[in-house]
């Protein structure tokens, strides 16, 4: 039974990673065709670093990703706090509205924002792209911060004020550190969503501004350059090792602290 479980997980992993392994292999393939193996090469990596178009797309993806994640984290955290303070009925109404971009498909979100920008004559480009990403990222932040606020002991806020903190001081010194895990995971979710997004970007960008997704989509009609494979391999490798390192550290500390001092009864 245990072996069967492991086998199942292994199969799922193969399913998930087969195309990725293939992509990585292609990035080292000397032949431009996807069908044949022409020997090992690093030339795509060399060419990648000379390709201005790809690098500008990467720049757009990253700057939009980090800016959108940062703005939506601030806005979403603020919004979550505001919603938390509302009367139950208002909060529920607000929650339904905030949920809409998540419940609506990306197509609808993208199209609706495109119409909005058209109506207010906002030239499609970098800023509309950024705004749109903020719009669909905020709900993720709100929904990851709100549960943390609910878990927050309201006495903590009162205790801070009791000890002389103004509301603002209390928020930064007590509430924010307490809900930080929610804020951080909201930020990471927003970043991931923004970097991986294609559909909303497709409808809300213009004047030659394109991120990686759009570049790849346009390229697809002519065939994907192995340079993109090389770039993706680099990005994936970085993220992979970063997360692996973080997780390994967690696992190690988990093992070392299997008996935590706090668990010893006083």
């Amino acid at each position: 039974m245990r072996k069967l479980r492991k086998l199942y997980i292994a199969l799922i992993m193969i399913f998930l990673y087969a195309p990725i392994v293939l992509l990585v292999l292609y990035s080292f393939n000397n032949s431009k065709s996807r069908a044949s193996w022409g020997g090992f090469t690093l030339k795509w990596y060399q060419e990648l670093f000379q390709d201005k178009a790809i690098f500008s797309a990467l720049g757009t993806t990253l700057s939009i990703g980090f800016l959108a994640a940062a703005i939506s984290t601030v806005l979403g955290t603020f919004g979550a706090v505001m919603m938390f303070q509302m009367k139950k009925r208002n909060r529920q109404a607000m929650l339904s509205v905030i949920n809409l971009p998540m419940l609506n498909s990306e197509v609808v979100t993208g199209v609706s924002l495109m119409l909005l920008f058209a109506i207010i004559h906002f030239q499609l480009g970098y800023w509309t792209l950024l705004l749109s990403h903020v719009v669909f990222c905020v709900p993720y932040v709100v929904l990851s911060v709100l549960p943390k606020l609910r878990q927050l002991d309201p006495n903590l806020i009162e205790a801070a004020q009791d000890l002389g903190a103004t509301r603002i001081q209390g928020f930064f010194r007590v509430v924010l550190p307490d809900i930080m895990p929610g804020v951080v995971s909201g930020f990471l979710m927003a970043l991931t969503m923004s970097i991986d997004d294609f559909v909303v970007s497709f409808f809300t960008t213009g004047s030659g501004v394109s991120n990686l997704s759009i570049t790849i989509y346009t390229m697809a009609k002519r065939g994907i350059s192995p340079k993109i494979n090389a770039l993706s391999t680099l990005i994936f490798g970085c993220v992979f090792f970063l997360l692996l390192a973080l997780n390994m550290r967690d696992i190690k500390s988990e093992d070392a602290q299997s008996i935590k001092p706090s668990q010893i009864p006083y």
């Binding site: 245990r2 479980r5 199942y8 997980i9 799922i12 992993m13 998930l16 087969a18 195309p19 990725i20 293939l22 992509l23 069908a35 806005l75 919004g79 706090v81 505001m82 938390f84 303070q85 009367k87 139950k88 909060r91 607000m94 929650l95 339904s96 509205v97 905030i98 809409l100 971009p101 998540m102 419940l103 609506n104 498909s105 990306e106 197509v107 609808v108 199209v111 609706s112 495109m114 909005l116 109506i119 309201p154 806020i157 509301r167 603002i168 991986d196 294609f198 559909v199 497709f202 997704s213 790849i216 989509y217 697809a220 994907i224 993706s232 992979f240 997360l243 692996l244 997780n247 967690d250």
Partner: protein, 321 residues
């Protein structure tokens, strides 16, 4: 400052960027752009001019565009072509969701098993592929599945090495090259691949939170592992399952990229048509009507699954800022 005044900016933001755009879709959806042909008049010098609505006469612009409320796009939407597309989109999305559930639930269950080591590491490995652009991953699948792709070349080398297998396949009516791509199944595969993690994550989160003593209590009371799964784990994991279904179904019902790539344009879905209306064919009004339809279908589906609002907390007023 008053609490209400403080929350105003956020409420305004939500209204402007979430509610207003959706209202715009609704407005575009119920209107059409009509071309108004102006009355032709013969000028004294024999040239032809046009009389505009306000009576002025001009020699340029023989027509103008006018937005009028009309339900004609709804009629058009009900044409068999579009209904068939919607039907296919729903079918593909439902099949995708079902397969994701069947594949993903056991993964979540196994990872949360008490003898499974380092579940968070494995969960991370499941989420990680999302960091490789999904278009590229879909492409990669295409190169595995295409006629001259890896899978086909493996199968043909198998056939050469093992004539019995070749004979069996031939007797089954399978051609030299197996066509995997450019049909509905390929689209489903592409979607399952892209969305299965969305199913695993919420289910994992919910199962992981189940109080382990409940399971112990169940087995203490004489439940077999199968029974305690049915009586404890399954009911407790339902919220996660619903969340997962939402997260898979919503993007699946409207995607247009995966169907274009894996379906090779032969399996258009409703999302493709919407994209077209805002791109090449450029009929925003009809595109908006279709978006409206998708929105209604998705929201109706969600409404069937659960109440949108899961806010369980009691009425309490806490003032932070």
């Amino acid at each position: 400052m008053k609490k209400k005044a403080l929350s105003l900016p956020f409420v305004l933001w939500a209204v402007f960027f979430i509610v207003l755009p959706l209202l715009l879709i609704a407005w575009y959806g119920v209107t059409v752009e009509e071309t108004v042909q102006f009355e032709q008049v013969q000028m004294e010098d024999g040239s032809i001019a046009y009389r505009l609505e306000d009576g002025t006469v001009t020699s340029e612009e023989p027509w103008a565009k006018k937005v009028v409320i009309s339900l004609s796009n709804f009629k058009r939407m009900l044409e068999p072509t579009y209904l068939k597309l919607l039907g296919r989109s729903l079918r593909v999305a439902l099949v995708t969701t079902l397969i994701c559930l069947l594949l993903g639930y056991p993964v979540a269950l196994i990872l949360t098993g008490k003898d499974f080591k380092h579940p968070t590491l494995w969960l991370m490995l499941i989420i990680l592929p999302m960091w490789m652009n999904f278009l590229l991953r879909t492409y990669s699948w295409m190169s595995i599945l295409e006629n001259s792709g890896i899978l086909n070349s493996w199968i043909s080398s198998l056939r050469e090495a093992w004539p019995a297998f070749d004979g069996w396949l031939t007797s089954m009516g399978v051609g030299k090259k197996i066509i995997f791509l450019y049909n509905e199944n390929a689209v489903v595969l592409g979607m399952v691949y892209n969305y299965v993690s969305f199913m695993i994550m919420p289910i994992y989160t919910v199962i992981e939170k189940i109080d382990k003593s409940l399971l112990e209590a169940a087995s203490d009371l004489g439940a077999t592992p199968g029974q305690s799964f049915l009586k404890v784990t399954l009911p407790y994991s339902l919220p996660g399952v619903l969340e997962g279904i939402t997260m898979v179904f919503v993007p699946a019902v409207t995607t247009f990229v995966i169907s274009q790539l894996m379906g090779g344009g032969k399996v258009p879905l409703i999302g493709d048509i919407i994209q077209n209306q805002f791109g090449k064919s450029s009929d925003w009004h009809f595109g908006a009507t279709l978006s409206l339809l998708v929105m209604v279908v998705v929201l109706a589906f969600m409404g069937m699954l659960r109440k949108i609002d899961k806010d369980e907390d009691e009425e309490r007023e806490v003032r932070i800022i």
